[in-house]
Subunit: 118 residues, 2 copies
Protein backbone atom coordinates (compact mmCIF):
# COMPACT_ATOMS: atom_id res chain seq x y z
CA UNK A 1 0.00 0.00 0.00
CA UNK A 2 1.42 3.32 -1.08
CA UNK A 3 1.71 6.17 1.36
CA UNK A 4 0.87 8.53 -1.50
CA UNK A 5 -2.66 8.32 -2.80
CA UNK A 6 -2.96 8.61 -6.56
CA UNK A 7 -6.11 9.29 -8.56
CA UNK A 8 -6.76 9.02 -12.30
CA UNK A 9 -9.01 11.60 -13.91
CA UNK A 10 -10.08 10.80 -17.43
CA UNK A 11 -13.66 11.39 -18.54
CA UNK A 12 -15.35 13.10 -15.61
CA UNK A 13 -17.24 16.34 -16.31
CA UNK A 14 -15.70 17.67 -13.09
CA UNK A 15 -13.32 16.13 -10.57
CA UNK A 16 -12.17 17.87 -7.39
CA UNK A 17 -8.90 16.82 -5.79
CA UNK A 18 -8.85 18.59 -2.41
CA UNK A 19 -10.58 15.87 -0.43
CA UNK A 20 -9.49 12.99 -2.68
CA UNK A 21 -5.79 13.72 -2.25
CA UNK A 22 -5.98 15.45 1.18
CA UNK A 23 -4.62 18.71 -0.21
CA UNK A 24 -3.85 21.46 2.32
CA UNK A 25 -2.64 24.32 0.12
CA UNK A 26 -4.93 24.23 -2.91
CA UNK A 27 -8.17 23.00 -4.38
CA UNK A 28 -7.65 21.67 -7.89
CA UNK A 29 -10.44 20.70 -10.25
CA UNK A 30 -10.36 19.17 -13.71
CA UNK A 31 -13.35 20.24 -15.78
CA UNK A 32 -14.71 19.39 -19.20
CA UNK A 33 -17.32 21.55 -20.90
CA UNK A 34 -19.05 19.99 -23.94
CA UNK A 35 -19.03 21.83 -27.27
CA UNK A 36 -21.32 24.82 -26.89
CA UNK A 37 -21.43 24.43 -23.12
CA UNK A 38 -20.45 26.81 -20.34
CA UNK A 39 -20.14 27.07 -16.59
CA UNK A 40 -23.74 28.06 -15.83
CA UNK A 41 -22.93 31.03 -13.62
CA UNK A 42 -20.58 33.98 -13.16
CA UNK A 43 -18.54 33.92 -9.96
CA UNK A 44 -15.74 35.60 -8.04
CA UNK A 45 -13.85 34.76 -4.85
CA UNK A 46 -13.35 36.26 -1.43
CA UNK A 47 -9.78 35.13 -0.70
CA UNK A 48 -8.53 32.87 -3.47
CA UNK A 49 -6.80 33.51 -6.75
CA UNK A 50 -7.44 30.96 -9.47
CA UNK A 51 -5.11 29.78 -12.19
CA UNK A 52 -6.67 28.10 -15.21
CA UNK A 53 -4.87 25.89 -17.73
CA UNK A 54 -6.44 24.57 -20.93
CA UNK A 55 -5.54 20.90 -21.35
CA UNK A 56 -7.46 20.20 -24.56
CA UNK A 57 -9.94 21.87 -26.86
CA UNK A 58 -10.74 25.55 -26.99
CA UNK A 59 -13.19 28.17 -25.80
CA UNK A 60 -13.16 31.48 -24.01
CA UNK A 61 -13.45 33.13 -20.63
CA UNK A 62 -15.26 36.35 -19.93
CA UNK A 63 -13.48 38.24 -17.14
CA UNK A 64 -15.14 41.46 -15.99
CA UNK A 65 -16.95 41.76 -19.33
CA UNK A 66 -13.80 41.16 -21.42
CA UNK A 67 -13.75 38.17 -23.80
CA UNK A 68 -10.46 36.24 -23.82
CA UNK A 69 -10.07 33.42 -26.36
CA UNK A 70 -8.53 30.19 -25.05
CA UNK A 71 -6.74 27.35 -26.85
CA UNK A 72 -4.93 24.22 -25.65
CA UNK A 73 -1.81 25.16 -23.69
CA UNK A 74 -3.10 28.54 -22.50
CA UNK A 75 -2.68 29.51 -18.85
CA UNK A 76 -4.26 32.51 -17.16
CA UNK A 77 -4.54 33.88 -13.62
CA UNK A 78 -7.76 35.37 -12.31
CA UNK A 79 -7.61 37.57 -9.21
CA UNK A 80 -10.17 36.99 -6.44
CA UNK A 81 -12.48 39.93 -7.13
CA UNK A 82 -12.69 39.43 -10.89
CA UNK A 83 -15.97 38.09 -12.21
CA UNK A 84 -15.42 35.10 -14.51
CA UNK A 85 -17.31 32.61 -16.67
CA UNK A 86 -15.88 29.89 -18.94
CA UNK A 87 -17.30 28.68 -22.26
CA UNK A 88 -16.33 25.86 -24.62
CA UNK A 89 -16.19 26.53 -28.35
CA UNK A 90 -19.32 25.78 -30.35
CA UNK A 91 -17.53 23.03 -32.28
CA UNK A 92 -15.36 21.30 -29.65
CA UNK A 93 -15.26 20.59 -25.97
CA UNK A 94 -12.77 22.24 -23.61
CA UNK A 95 -10.97 20.51 -20.74
CA UNK A 96 -9.33 22.80 -18.20
CA UNK A 97 -7.63 22.67 -14.84
CA UNK A 98 -8.62 25.17 -12.17
CA UNK A 99 -6.15 25.73 -9.33
CA UNK A 100 -7.53 27.63 -6.35
CA UNK A 101 -5.02 29.04 -3.85
CA UNK A 102 -5.11 31.72 -1.18
CA UNK A 103 -3.91 35.05 -2.59
CA UNK A 104 -0.47 36.05 -1.27
CA UNK A 105 0.00 32.74 0.54
CA UNK A 106 3.19 31.60 -1.22
CA UNK A 107 6.31 32.66 0.65
CA UNK A 108 9.30 30.65 -0.54
CA UNK A 109 9.39 28.46 -3.66
CA UNK A 110 11.69 26.45 -5.91
CA UNK A 111 15.27 27.54 -5.18
CA UNK A 112 14.34 29.12 -1.86
CA UNK A 113 12.17 26.22 -0.70
CA UNK A 114 13.56 23.07 -2.27
CA UNK A 115 16.54 21.08 -1.02
CA UNK A 116 18.41 18.83 -3.40
CA UNK A 117 19.38 15.48 -1.90
CA UNK A 118 21.60 14.08 -4.64
CA UNK B 1 -4.84 45.29 -24.01
CA UNK B 2 -6.19 42.68 -21.64
CA UNK B 3 -5.91 43.13 -17.90
CA UNK B 4 -5.31 39.40 -17.59
CA UNK B 5 -2.03 38.14 -18.96
CA UNK B 6 -2.26 34.83 -20.79
CA UNK B 7 0.61 32.56 -21.76
CA UNK B 8 0.69 29.56 -24.10
CA UNK B 9 2.87 26.60 -23.14
CA UNK B 10 3.36 24.02 -25.86
CA UNK B 11 6.78 22.52 -26.50
CA UNK B 12 9.00 23.86 -23.74
CA UNK B 13 11.02 21.35 -21.68
CA UNK B 14 10.07 23.42 -18.64
CA UNK B 15 7.96 26.53 -18.21
CA UNK B 16 7.43 28.32 -14.88
CA UNK B 17 4.35 30.48 -14.42
CA UNK B 18 4.95 32.33 -11.12
CA UNK B 19 6.71 35.33 -12.58
CA UNK B 20 5.09 35.13 -16.02
CA UNK B 21 1.56 35.37 -14.63
CA UNK B 22 2.37 37.25 -11.39
CA UNK B 23 1.09 34.41 -9.24
CA UNK B 24 0.92 35.06 -5.48
CA UNK B 25 -0.36 31.76 -4.12
CA UNK B 26 1.45 29.12 -6.15
CA UNK B 27 4.33 28.31 -8.43
CA UNK B 28 3.21 26.18 -11.35
CA UNK B 29 5.53 24.53 -13.82
CA UNK B 30 4.82 22.49 -16.95
CA UNK B 31 7.56 19.96 -17.61
CA UNK B 32 8.34 17.47 -20.36
CA UNK B 33 10.84 14.66 -19.86
CA UNK B 34 11.98 12.86 -23.03
CA UNK B 35 11.62 9.08 -23.28
CA UNK B 36 14.18 7.56 -20.93
CA UNK B 37 14.79 10.91 -19.23
CA UNK B 38 14.42 11.98 -15.64
CA UNK B 39 14.68 14.97 -13.36
CA UNK B 40 18.43 14.80 -12.65
CA UNK B 41 18.19 15.05 -8.86
CA UNK B 42 16.15 14.00 -5.83
CA UNK B 43 14.59 16.85 -3.86
CA UNK B 44 12.26 17.73 -1.04
CA UNK B 45 10.77 20.99 0.26
CA UNK B 46 10.91 23.04 3.43
CA UNK B 47 7.39 24.54 3.38
CA UNK B 48 5.58 23.60 0.21
CA UNK B 49 3.46 20.65 -0.77
CA UNK B 50 3.49 19.76 -4.45
CA UNK B 51 0.70 18.33 -6.56
CA UNK B 52 1.67 16.64 -9.80
CA UNK B 53 -0.65 15.88 -12.72
CA UNK B 54 0.34 13.83 -15.77
CA UNK B 55 -0.89 15.58 -18.92
CA UNK B 56 0.48 13.15 -21.50
CA UNK B 57 2.73 10.12 -21.72
CA UNK B 58 3.78 7.93 -18.81
CA UNK B 59 6.56 7.26 -16.37
CA UNK B 60 7.05 6.93 -12.65
CA UNK B 61 7.95 8.80 -9.51
CA UNK B 62 10.11 7.48 -6.71
CA UNK B 63 8.91 8.89 -3.39
CA UNK B 64 10.96 7.95 -0.34
CA UNK B 65 12.28 4.85 -2.16
CA UNK B 66 8.83 3.71 -3.32
CA UNK B 67 8.20 3.39 -7.08
CA UNK B 68 4.80 4.69 -8.21
CA UNK B 69 3.83 4.17 -11.84
CA UNK B 70 2.23 7.15 -13.60
CA UNK B 71 -0.01 7.37 -16.67
CA UNK B 72 -1.86 10.21 -18.36
CA UNK B 73 -4.58 11.57 -16.08
CA UNK B 74 -2.88 10.60 -12.83
CA UNK B 75 -2.67 13.13 -10.00
CA UNK B 76 -0.64 12.74 -6.82
CA UNK B 77 0.26 14.92 -3.83
CA UNK B 78 3.75 14.92 -2.35
CA UNK B 79 4.21 16.32 1.17
CA UNK B 80 7.10 18.73 1.79
CA UNK B 81 9.52 16.36 3.53
CA UNK B 82 9.12 13.50 1.07
CA UNK B 83 12.07 12.88 -1.24
CA UNK B 84 10.96 12.66 -4.88
CA UNK B 85 12.31 12.09 -8.37
CA UNK B 86 10.36 11.82 -11.65
CA UNK B 87 11.17 9.61 -14.65
CA UNK B 88 9.65 9.28 -18.13
CA UNK B 89 9.03 5.81 -19.54
CA UNK B 90 11.77 4.31 -21.68
CA UNK B 91 9.52 4.38 -24.75
CA UNK B 92 7.62 7.68 -24.47
CA UNK B 93 7.98 11.14 -23.06
CA UNK B 94 6.00 12.40 -20.07
CA UNK B 95 4.52 15.87 -19.69
CA UNK B 96 3.43 16.83 -16.19
CA UNK B 97 2.25 19.84 -14.25
CA UNK B 98 3.80 20.60 -10.88
CA UNK B 99 1.83 22.85 -8.52
CA UNK B 100 3.79 24.16 -5.55
CA UNK B 101 1.78 25.66 -2.67
CA UNK B 102 2.47 26.40 0.98
CA UNK B 103 1.33 23.49 3.14
CA UNK B 104 -1.79 24.30 5.20
CA UNK B 105 -2.25 27.68 3.48
CA UNK B 106 -5.73 27.08 2.06
CA UNK B 107 -8.46 28.31 4.40
CA UNK B 108 -11.73 28.64 2.53
CA UNK B 109 -12.46 27.26 -0.95
CA UNK B 110 -15.20 26.69 -3.49
CA UNK B 111 -18.54 26.97 -1.68
CA UNK B 112 -17.02 28.80 1.28
CA UNK B 113 -14.92 31.19 -0.83
CA UNK B 114 -16.80 31.72 -4.10
CA UNK B 115 -19.69 34.10 -4.64
CA UNK B 116 -22.08 33.50 -7.51
CA UNK B 117 -23.08 36.67 -9.33
CA UNK B 118 -25.75 35.31 -11.64
Amino acid sequence: MSNNKKVNISNEARAELHDTLSLTGAEISINTLPAGGCVPFVHYHKNNEEIYGIISGSGKVIIDSEDIQLVTGDWIKVSPAQKRQFFASDNESMTFICIQVKENSLETFTMSDAKVVQ
